[in-house]
Amino acid sequence: MTATPQNGAESAKETTRPKRLALVASKGTLDQAYPPLILATTAASLGWDVGIYFTFYGLDILHQDRFEKLKVASLANPAGPIRVPNLLGAVPGATAAATKVMKNWMKKSRMPELPEFIEMAQGLGVTFFACATTMGVMGVEETDLIEGCDIAGAAAFLDFAADADVQLYV
C-alpha cells in the first residue's frame, strides 16, 4: 500500500479545473430544442466544460434530415403559441401553424435559428453525445447525424456527468 502524498496536488488541480455542465436533451420539438442549446452556449461562454446527451426524441436535434424541420406541438400543449381548445390542435395544419408562430417570435426577437445555435455550441467546444441505444432503437446511423458527434452509451455519458457541477434533464 502506498501513501497518498499526491493528495495535495490533486486537490489543487480540482480547484483550477473549469466548471462542468452535463445536460440531457430528450425532446424533439422545436421549442424544447432551444433550452439545452441556450444553456450550453451560455455555460461554454462562461468558460465551462459542457456536454449534452441527446437521447430518444432529442436525437432528432442531431439528425441531418430532421434538425431543420423540428416542429412545435399544437396538441396537448396548452402553453403553445396558438391558444386554441385542445381539440383544435388536432386539426390538419395546426402543428405547422404553431411552428410558424414560434419561428416568427424567434425571428422578431433576433434569436438565432436552431442550426445556428448548433454551430455556436460546436464552435465553443460543446460535446454532443449521441445516445447509442436510441440510434439502435430508432434505426439512426452515424452518417445520419451532423458531424462531430460522440456516439455514447449511458455509462460514457455518466462518466462525463459524474464530474459535473450542474446536471440538468430537459
Partner: protein
C-alpha cells in the same frame, strides 16, 4: 455605480439582443482581449442586469463599473488572468 468612465480597449453593442447572445458575444470579445484589458459592453436585455455580473464572476473577469442609461445598461469588464 460610478461616475468615472474607465479606460476602454473594445466596445461591444448588443442592443436588441436577448439571452444568450449578449453573454455569448461578450465571451467571444473577451476571448480576444489580453488580461487587464477592458471591454465596454452595451446591453438592452433586462436579464443582462444580473447576467453580466454573473458572467464576469464565472469567467474570472472583473466588473469594474456599470451604469444604467434608461433601458440601456453599460458594463465595463476587465479581463481576468486565466
Amino acid at each position: 455605480m460610478t461616475t468615472e468612465t474607465p479606460h476602454v480597449d473594445e466596445t461591444l453593442d448588443t442592443s436588441g439582443l436577448l439571452c444568450p447572445l449578449p453573454v455569448y458575444k461578450a465571451g467571444m470579445a473577451l476571448g480576444n482581449l489580453e488580461p487587464g484589458q477592458v471591454l465596454q459592453l452595451i446591453c438592452t436585455d433586462p436579464g443582462s442586469l444580473e447576467d453580466i455580473p454573473a458572467m464576469a464572476r464565472q469567467r474570472g473577469d472583473t466588473l469594474v463599473a456599470s451604469e444604467e442609461r434608461g433601458d440601456t445598461q453599460v458594463f465595463w469588464i476587465e479581463k481576468g488572468k486565466v
